[in-house]
């Protein structure tokens, strides 16, 4: 009794259409060309707009000789560590908070106002307070970045839990799930796709906050490198730093997408 009817073909892998990618590459090349032209024709002084070649040279200089007390790799390492540590801590805290808000009235009553309070605050606004409370060490930097990530993680978890269908929840209950099992077996897995979206938004917020966090008494990090360069109007190094942050953000986005494809293959085909 095998039935071949209604065989659902696996969905095509989600991939950008080629011409869209081409358009993206063309746009970047166009901007670089325009930038070269502007710098080459001297439309702006090199202090304002160094040529792409000089930015590249600055990048190489930072990579080999180092800049602002450390090599580029060390700056990248410091920044990456801060952002990832903040993401890890925020996930460990934010997902349970989201589950509590989504599954318990008491949890929602207590935690929802707190999240709503933090959500609209710009990190620069609470940075001084965190320094007063936690000093200028590594924890403050991670805390600022983590706070910026908290709301997207919590909110995406809360809305993700709603992706569990009523019958899936009832199935778990019918087969004897306790409250904890219901959360572990149904609500959390159902929320994972949304949590991943939240992680991507959170990472964006993290990179945004990084430079602000490294404003304060940092001796390493891309934000610190950029600020050091800016103080001496080393514009090529500033742009190099910005490009590195942008590259890191892009790489982490693709890494998340790859993890999603590997571990959440059911997304969009349930």
């Amino acid at each position: 009794m095998t039935d071949q009817t209604l065989q659902i073909p696996p969905a095509a892998p989600r991939r950008q259409m080629p011409w869209t990618s081409l358009l993206g590459v063309a746009t970047i090349l166009g901007v670089v060309a325009l930038w070269s032209l502007a710098a080459g024709l001297g439309w702006a002084s090199p202090v304002f707009l160094p040529a792409p070649g000089r930015v590249w040279a600055a990048l190489m200089r930072a990579a080999t000789d180092g800049y602002a007390n450390a090599t580029l790799l060390q700056h990248v390492g410091a920044s990456l560590w801060r952002v990832m540590a903040a993401l890890g801590c925020t996930m460990a805290l934010g997902v349970p908070i989201g589950l509590l808000i989504a599954t318990s009235r008491v949890g929602r009553g207590i935690l929802d106002p707190l999240i709503e309070f933090i959500r609209p605050l710009p990190p620069l606004a609470y940075l001084p307070l965190i320094i007063i409370w936690c000093g200028i060490g590594e924890p403050s930097k991670i805390l600022v970045i983590g706070l910026a990530m908290l709301a997207p993680i919590v909110i995406s978890t809360v809305s993700g839990v709603r992706a569990a269908s009523e019958s899936q929840i009832r199935a778990a209950r019918a087969f004897g799930a306790t409250r904890g099992q219901l959360v572990r077996e149904v609500m959390l897995p159902a929320a994972l796709p949304s949590i991943f979206t939240g992680m991507r938004i959170a990472l964006g917020a993290g990179w945004t906050t990084l430079v602000a966090a490294e404003l304060v008494a940092a001796t390493r990090g891309l934000g610190y490198m950029i600020q050091s360069a800016a103080q001496f109007l080393v514009t090529d190094m500033v742009i190099a730093g910005i490009l590195v942050i942008s590259a890191l953000a892009t790489v982490s986005e693709f890494a998340l997408r790859a993890i999603e494809r590997r571990y959440l293959p059911w997304i969009g085909r349930a």
């Binding site: 019958s167 009832r170 209950r173 087969f175 306790t178 059911w266």
Partner: protein, 261 residues
């Protein structure tokens, strides 16, 4: 002999003080014993799903009692398993882990529960498909996984809400045979919600017709076609017997009596 009994059950959605909300079900009396196969038919909105949700323990009645062997039902329980219309499988788990859900929740070690899940998968005709992902299966195969998941809980009562509603006619016929076989083999009491009169008549030891507004039982009749099929009679011959055709007309007119009155 276990008995799932609904006595004088009424159900009303919404706030109790909202007097103008009419009851969805009123004065329902229904006994399901092990070995029974009871089908409930009725128009859309007549309260079939509500009835099943009451029996499953997802809802509590506003009036009346629901009992198993005299003990009141206060929620879902291990002696009742449910098959859902939309299959309600977990796409984040492989097929075998879906089937093993009840065993996992009960704390059975993974090795043991997978062995048992594979046996149930073989029983529903999905031998060797355990490692597949849910979305790699057809609609009919998914419903079989849902049935295997329910049977793996080794229930005394199997509650099914239109499990075949989304399947094509040929797959349905195959599933009828499967359901009857599994029902006999498991000795469970089955409650099947369906909107197919012929399906109800063919499968059941008794058919209950629900009429809407408020949902109530207007016909309760016993049949034996499923048993005769299991004893080897040809299904098409059974379905073209004059008795079968007359019974189908009786059930249909019970379903539609108020529209024509």
């Amino acid at each position: 002999m276990s008995l799932l009994r609904l006595s004088q059950v009424s159900l009303q959605y919404g706030p109790a003080e909202g007097r103008d909300v009419p009851p969805v079900l009123q004065g329902i009396n229904l006994d399901i014993r092990r070995g029974d196969f009871i089908s409930v038919i009725g128009r859309s909105g007549s309260g079939k799903t509500s009835l099943l949700n009451l029996a499953a323990g997802f809802l509590s009645p506003n009036l009346g009692r629901i009992e198993i062997d005299g003990r009141p039902v206060t929620g879902p329980g291990a002696e009742r398993a449910v098959v859902f219309q939309d299959d309600a499988l977990f796409p984040w788990r492989r097929v075998e882990d879906n089937v093993a859900l009840a065993l996992k929740l009960a704390g059975v070690p993974r090795e043991d529960r997978l062995v048992r899940a594979h046996r149930w998968l073989a029983d529903v005709g999905l031998d060797g498909q355990g490692a597949k992902q849910v979305w790699e299966l057809s609609g009919g195969q998914r419903q079989r996984v849902g049935i295997a998941r329910a049977l793996a809980a080794e229930p005394e009562f199997l509650l099914m809400d239109e499990p075949l509603g989304a399947l094509d006619a040929m797959t349905r016929d195959q599933m009828h045979e499967l359901l009857l076989r599994l029902w006999r083999q498991s000795h469970a009491g089955a409650l099947l919600i369906t909107h197919s009169v012929e399906e109800a008549l063919f499968l059941s030891t008794a058919v209950v017709v629900l009429a809407p507004d408020p949902g109530r039982i207007v016909l309760h009749e016993e049949f034996g076609y499923g048993r005769r099929f299991l004893d080897g009679e040809d299904p098409r011959a059974l379905k073209s017997e004059p008795g079968f055709i007359a019974a189908r007309e009786r059930l249909l007119s019970a379903i539609y009596q108020e529209e024509h009155a």
